[in-house]
């Protein structure tokens, strides 16, 4: 037998998951607020997609940590707390947004004219008004609501 030093322990996994969930919620709240008040370009949408994917990937990598479910129940002082079910709810909500983006975001966009390439920023000129991002914001609200 050898000392198992390289595997992650439930305490570290649960702490990271909580931090990632809070960071995700904070950023999605910001995104919803931002998209409700100004136009949204593709650079921002791509960044938002990456935020969702990063969080989802970390949740996936940590949710199978041995002992996590029991540790979460103890930490929450709630024997009925089913962290696996909460993971599923949260990740389903995230998948709902990324899948919706993949299906509904138009890829037939308008590029910026070459004469504007000297400045930085997105090559894609197409933007969406607050009214046009309503459905996306509603789906982001579902993710936000899955994190208390």
């Amino acid at each position: 037998m050898v000392f198992r030093a390289s595997n992650i322990v439930p305490q570290a996994a649960y702490q990271t998951v909580k931090s990632a969930a809070v960071q995700l919620k904070l950023n999605l709240q910001g995104a919803v607020s931002r998209m409700a008040s100004q136009n949204t370009d593709y650079e921002y949408l791509r960044g938002l997609y990456q935020v969702l994917k990063r969080a989802d990937d970390q949740f996936t990598s940590l949710k199978t940590t041995p002992g996590l479910a029991a540790f979460a129940q103890a930490q929450e002082s709630d024997p009925a707390y089913n962290v696996v079910a909460e993971f599923t709810t949260m990740q389903d909500a995230i998948s709902g947004v990324t899948a919706w983006m993949a299906t509904n975001l138009p890829l037939s966009v308008t590029l910026r004219p070459v004469t504007e390439w000297g400045s930085s920023g997105s090559l894609i000129a197409t933007e969406y008004t607050p009214a046009q991002t309503l459905q996306l914001r509603n789906r982001l609200d579902t993710v936000i609501a899955s994190i208390a």
Partner: protein
Amino acid sequence: VAAAFVQSSLDYVNSTVTSFVLTLVGTPTANNLLVASVGGRSISGDIGTPTGWTLLYRDNAGGAAHAAFYKIADGTETSVTFTFPDDCEPVCAVHEFSGLDAVSPLDQVNMTAIGGATARTAGPLTPASAPGLAFTSMGGEINSNAVTITTPSEFTALSGRSVSTFNPSNRAARFFYSTTDAISAEWLSSPSHEYAAGLAIFLEPSGGASLPTLTAASAINIGTTTLTPRVTFTTS
């Protein structure tokens, strides 16, 4: 202010190398902000931008070099590889922060180039919005005189190193600002040495009124193990 410091990793070598792998003390949380600062001695070019990172500022002159980079953590990083144009002695650090915009966190940067001085000031920079994080770092080359480095006022020192003669210097500090007043960072060196100073402003997500808070609760017992304090995240 939602932004918070999470952890720092720091390492160095006393021999010359062309690349250096800094092992992070803990795997970062996905979507947290990572900021790296590097100081180099006996170097003849710019410090390379690590793969997947974005340059904030850098300079090199007379054998001294300093640079800073940032990235949004994907939560899988266990180390960072820094590269150098030729053999040099580096001091490398990575600092992790939570609560910042994970889509487009960087507001603006400023740097005062390498120079032999007792004071180098980065800024002033006026943040586009508040609250947020002001990150500052200094770095360069300490030669025959040992130096004492003073962290800019209003800033809190992070992990750094500037301990002896004939070594690189690299220090960093943070300031969680709450207004859009202009911010400067003056690094003092006594006596003088060759160093640069940089300043970067990072923003919190827009609509950051819904701030997560940490509250400590009473300890709980699992078998014979006492875990304290328990940390609970709540939002308001």
